[in-house]
């Protein structure tokens, strides 16, 4: 018990110190403040880092002079991955705190009711880092989202296509798929299965892994049966490391293709680098410019590790793009006015700005002068289509001692070409 108590005290003190330093950095900017709401699942393992990054992006923006000369005050509500709680939090943010901009949520099952019952009726803009459901595209096509919804999560099509390209380039003839049994996993597993089949690669099995299962042994045994040459993993770190540890100990192949959700230190450490030599990851990418590594460097300096984990770079971009749009729309702008400015922040013909404090300051200056910028974010040259979806170039990566390193770069054109060829 004593040890626990000490450890407990330790967290609190560290938290207090951190928060003091956070205040110290943000106190430098202006004396007015603008409220921005965020509804993120801070009480689940993969949700908390996403919220930390959003908070960090806000700190950066404040350091760079804030939005419309005001400090941004991020009010964070925990969604508990419970739609009721998330919607209630969002509604309170909109009505009680008067926010015009909502960041979040992560799960589509939470974002969707927030959008339909809070954001759209109240005319508040919503920027999600990670909701992947195709339902949002459909909703936008029906005109029901009124252009208020954006997400920085590239549609699963790119991920799946790049995964299939890796399998082709490595010359695998058969692949088994393990996927998380949620909307994202179901979606991506179908897409990659189709892509692989059309390349003539056999999909031996496609096995769904449910959340919160005590053991994935049975599922792994199932996937082992077809004796595949490679394994495709669309999982989160927790169940990903549990499943891969079983897989390897049962003698499964170490040829693995990983979705970007497994770009995580937790996964690497728990599985062990020695088993990940033949693991190739896929991810959406930054464009080839000198500022490309800005986010990675910043993140390393702040958190002491690479930004590896589901949704981290998406969350960073979502926050900064939304804040820039807010700046461009001016003080006291409404949600739809902010939403209308998103295009000016991600304008392909605009001035390129990097994803750091300097870039943010530069961008605010240009936007104040009526110009447009091209935000070059952590997930790439983010550009939204008319339905709020984003497409981006891609990279493949491998694990290293320190984190990950890029293996190859695939341009947006190559991705598009490949996707056209398999369909």
């Amino acid at each position: 018990m004593t040890i626990k108590r000490i450890a407990h005290k330790g967290t609190i003190t560290a938290g207090a110190l951190l928060c003091m330093s956070a205040f110290a950095t943000s106190a430098s900017a202006a004396d007015c403040s603008i409220k921005v709401g965020a509804v993120l699942p801070t009480s689940v393992d993969w949700g908390r880092p996403i919220a930390e990054v959003a908070q960090y992006a806000v700190d950066l923006a404040n350091e760079a002079g804030g939005v419309s000369g005001c400090d941004v005050d991020l009010i964070l509500r925990d969604s508990q991955v419970d739609p009721k709680v998330g919607v209630d939090g969002a509604k309170a943010l909109v009505d009680l705190d008067g926010v015009q901009l909502l960041l979040g949520a992560v799960s589509s099952g939470v974002s969707m009711p927030i959008l339909t019952s809070v954001a759209v009726p109240s005319g508040v803009m919503m920027m999600s880092c990670c909701s992947s459901s195709t339902g949002f595209t459909a909703l936008a096509q029906e005109g029901k989202s009124k252009g208020l919804f954006f997400r920085t999560f590239a549609t699963s099509g790119v991920q799946a296509a790049v995964g299939a390209m890796v399998a082709r380039d490595k010359g695998y003839n058969s692949v088994a798929i393990l996927y998380k049994n949620d909307d994202w996993g179901q979606d991506i597993s179908k897409l990659i299965a189709a892509d692989l089949e059309s390349l003539g690669i056999t999909v031996t099995t496609s096995v769904a892994l449910n959340d919160a299962q005590p053991s994935y042994r049975a599922e792994v045994t199932q996937a082992l049966k077809g004796k595949p040459e490679a394994l495709y993993l669309a999982l989160y770190p927790t169940e990903g490391s549990a499943a891969v540890r079983e897989w390897i100990s049962l003698g499964g192949t170490q040829n693995m293709i990983l979705a970007n959700s497994l770009k995580s230190d937790e996964f690497r450490d728990n599985v062990g680098l020695q088993y990940l030599g033949n693991a190739t990851g896929t991810d959406t990418a930054s464009p080839r410019s000198e500022s490309a590594s800005a986010f990675v460097d910043l993140y390393k300096a702040k958190f002491g590790s690479e930004p590896n984990g589901p949704g981290l770079s998406n969350s960073f971009d979502a926050t900064l793009i939304a804040l820039l749009a807010m700046h461009a729309a001016g003080k006291d702008a409404s949600g739809s006015e902010i939403a209308a400015q998103v295009a000016n922040v991600t304008d392909p013909n605009g001035t390129a700005v990097s994803a750091d404090a300097a870039g943010f300051a530069k961008a605010t200056e240009i936007l104040s002068g009526g110009g447009t910028v091209m935000y070059q974010g952590a997930t790439g040259n983010v550009r939204f289509d008319s339905f709020g979806d984003v497409s981006a170039p891609a990279v493949t990566w491998t694990f290293t001692e320190a984190g990950t390193k890029e293996a190859s770069y695939i341009t947006l054109e190559e991705v598009d070409e490949f996707m056209a060829s398999v369909n």
């Binding site: 096995v207 449910n210 919160a212 005590p214 053991s215 049975a218 003698g251 450490d269 599985v271």
Partner: protein, 304 residues
């Protein structure tokens, strides 16, 4: 097929250990304790702390025992964790369940156990963080027992099975050969009569919690050894453990052991016929099917 059977038995051993404690508490105190699985988390995490402590003091203890990923330090830690968990179980009873028992009904207890589970789980998350942790990062490769039909077994699993069986054997002797064992049965049969005969009810209840806690701690460590440790393992394991308890019949220790194996095997075998997306529903399908045939579980008796 054989692989699934073997895996099921090995997973089942862990469930059995958890279910024994649960069935005893449910029998004596007559309430469904939803916080029981949190004792596994307490056990797993306290073993993690002790393990770090022992390996730090005496690095030689960090050596592995034979082909297993179990170390001497972890073995020691497991016994310490059993103590800590048994004690916590008793304290939780003293501070929460005992008081509610005195004034409320059975359902209040069930709800209190939900609340307690929520508190334990989140306090653990606050202290240790939400990420998964491991006792040992190494992956121990499974040994191929036969290639056709395919049968792979991890040394750790065999170890866990043997250790679990040994613990159960010790428990069996305690229950069938000691005064405490008789007292326990007397209390379960008829608490008031037992008290009249000079059995101190409060002592028996405390001992039941301690035993339940010890077994849960062992199950938690074994689970951590085979899988991973995180603050939500209680949530992940509570349902299979309940299933094992009910299948065995509430109050029957041997039923709980058997129930654990049945649930483990069924969960593994089910994927041979069902798509894996449906796996969380499997334990309940077993419960439902069994209760339709035997409304009080395999070894349970109608209870008032």
């Amino acid at each position: 097929m054989i692989q699934s059977l073997a895996d099921g038995i090995l997973v089942g051993a862990i469930l059995s250990l958890g279910a024994i404690g649960l069935t005893m508490v449910m029998h004596i105190l007559r309430f469904a304790n939803f916080s029981h699985a949190e004792l596994l988390s307490i056990g797993a995490y306290s073993a993690l702390v002790f393990d770090a402590l022992f390996s730090g003091i005496l690095p030689i203890l960090a050596n592995k025992i034979g082909p297993f990923s179990m170390t001497w330090a972890l073995t020691l830690s497991m016994f310490c964790a059993m103590g800590v968990t048994g004690l916590s179980a008793m304290l939780i009873d003293r501070f929460v369940f005992k008081r509610i028992r005195e004034k409320g009904d059975e359902l209040s207890m069930v709800f209190a156990s939900f609340g307690v589970a929520m508190i334990i789980r989140n306090v653990l998350g606050l202290i240790f963080g939400l990420k998964s942790q491991l006792y040992s990062n190494d992956i121990v490769f499974a040994v191929m027992i036969s290639s056709d039909p395919m049968l792979l077994i991890k040394p750790d699993q065999v170890f866990v099975l043997l250790a679990a069986l040994l613990i159960m054997l010790v428990l069996h002797f305690v229950l069938s050969r000691t005064t405490f064992g008789y007292a326990l049965r007397a209390v379960a049969e008829n608490p008031s009569l037992a008290e009249v005969s000079g059995i101190r009810l409060s002592r028996v209840i405390a001992l039941v919690w301690i035993i339940g806690g010890c077994l849960a701690a062992a199950a938690g460590v074994f689970y951590g050894l085979n899988n991973h440790i995180n603050p939500v393992i209680g949530r992940d394991l509570v349902l299979p453990i309940f299933a094992a308890t009910i299948v065995g019949g509430i109050g029957s220790v041997y039923g709980a052991v058997l129930g654990g194996f049945i649930v483990g095997i069924a969960a593994n075998m089910a994927l041979l016929v069902l798509p894996s997306g449906y796996s969380p529903a499997v334990p309940f399908m077993i419960i439902l099917a069994l209760l339709l045939v035997r409304p009080h579980g395999l070894f349970g008796e109608p209870q008032t």
